[in-house]
Assembly symmetry: C2
Homo-oligomer: 369 residues x 2
Amino acid sequence: MTFQTNLSASQKMPEAEAFAVILAGGGGTRLWPASRRKRPKQLLHLGGGESLLEAAVRRARALFGEGHTLVVTAADQEEQIRRELPDLPPGDIVVEPEPRNTAAAVGLGAAEAYRRRGPGALLAVLPADPHIGDEAAFAAAIRTALSHAGEAIVTIGLQPTHPETGFGYIRRGAAVAGSSDTFAVDAFVEKPTREVAESYVASGAYLWNSGMFFLSAGRMLEEARRHLPALGAILDAAIAAGDFRAAVQASYGKAPKISIDHGIMEKAGGLRVVPGAFGWNDVGSWAAVPALRTPDARGNVVIGDATLIEGDGNIVVADDGAPFVSVLGVRDLVVVATRDAILVIPKDRAQDVKRIVEAVGQAGRRDLL
Amino acid sequence: MTFQTNLSASQKMPEAEAFAVILAGGGGTRLWPASRRKRPKQLLHLGGGESLLEAAVRRARALFGEGHTLVVTAADQEEQIRRELPDLPPGDIVVEPEPRNTAAAVGLGAAEAYRRRGPGALLAVLPADPHIGDEAAFAAAIRTALSHAGEAIVTIGLQPTHPETGFGYIRRGAAVAGSSDTFAVDAFVEKPTREVAESYVASGAYLWNSGMFFLSAGRMLEEARRHLPALGAILDAAIAAGDFRAAVQASYGKAPKISIDHGIMEKAGGLRVVPGAFGWNDVGSWAAVPALRTPDARGNVVIGDATLIEGDGNIVVADDGAPFVSVLGVRDLVVVATRDAILVIPKDRAQDVKRIVEAVGQAGRRDLL
């Protein structure tokens, strides 16, 4: 099946077949107690709605079509990912024997696409867990990025909405010849201080690193061989093997544990960036949840079996199996309950959930992590 | 067994035998979700400590002795009250077939004491659920009140510590002849407005109505016959019957539903009041809990399986079977979790728990009431 599209006549179509490679291997506790090491946030069904992973797969299937949406996950999450995605062809879930960070995970996805359609297969590497507010704009940015992916490595850089210090940035260079919406990548820069982040946003030349990359399977293999030769060897052997999964199982433990950003993208040449603005939200803490839902007139978001009386700006979440949650008269508070744990924290300190998770771990309560 | 005492020589000893009549029949939701209609606050073991009822019985047994501590409760709470008080002689738990308010409950206790020791038996009617901070001062006030109870109805009036609008008041009159610590009761007055309460406290002539009354069993029967004749008839018949419990069972449903205050005390003559100051606390809401416990250096009280990081002035309670409670960075908040419900409310709005209970009821969640 070929790249599904509703492109206008002015947009370039990619010639080759394209695959989404959705990275769904991460754990996470930033939305603790709902998210756990083994129940990452992309699997959360807050209030019975679509999970972030389900949304990512739905968007990808609409763009790339059936059989062209690969989900890469780690063995310890395979079972719950398969349960989460019963409609996905079983072979389209690509399993890492153990988590080895994103360079290896992207490599696995690239190897699977290579086996299916050869080196010209285009890859759209997409994280599973951001929320996308404007899906049409998202699809348009992906189409633009893919239109360059046969000749270069492309990323989407997010238009910053505030001087975020929790993300890496991309400094964009000159527009690519013949294009008004695609630029050379001047540099990837690390997470900045607040002051530096403000200067980045003011300059207009910096974009957030989205973790989305577009390139051909052949190019991914070449870059792996050059910059991460142990990974390149593993991938070449797996592509050549009769039993892909067995070959990966035997060798994957030797893959370098490094991110795709550090391991490949910062070393590769000729990168391009497509600026994007489509309501991207990495749901990095509970404070991000109101952006995903429509708050009530007083700015509250209430999800699940809960009642809120006379509150303002609160986020109240009762997970399946949690006790009934009742909140009265509070402001800008996060209250989250699950079957076995409860969190109460001010919204503006939602990042400090990690301190609670640490304390829980130090108290020996591994059952809650 | 006679009235146990460590009286000084200057204190009058009551001639007759005395009984504590502990009223333990009330339900309550003011400490919801820990307290429920069928689990009133006197039964709460917050953090594994002694319950309010256990403390009331312990204090009474120390003063009145074994076999002289009667606990009056309603049939629907009998089982849990017996479980709570395994050391009390079974016959000392006096069971109302159904709750009929406090006049009838005191009448039952009086009838039981009358059967055991005749009309001269003295009664100390004590609610089960206040917390007493200074037990020695409490015992002294009871001894003083009992020393008058053979000749008058006596109550203890609490020295107000603030202009409380949630209590009734007693206006005291002249000192009883020959006594410096006992006064005539001028009037019982209803719960005042804030302004009126302030004038009461400023005047020095008003005391809080404690709900503690001291009188003989015979006097109680006389007053019942006079002011609540239906109750008087029930009690007389029960005293005369061979099977007290069966007689009560047959007739108690006809007892008037009225409080001892309205039904008898406000109508009886010659009442006396002993002012008392002994750290009395009716635990009328969660905000009262810090007075019962020793808060930490930042004013927090944490009870049960919970962790609190960087908070000030909070009350955090995890009941047995509740999820683990974690709280960070909040101030003056009440967080209470049970197996099936969670409450989050500002400490200064703790009285508004009743609004949540109403909302829960309106939502049809009777299981949570």
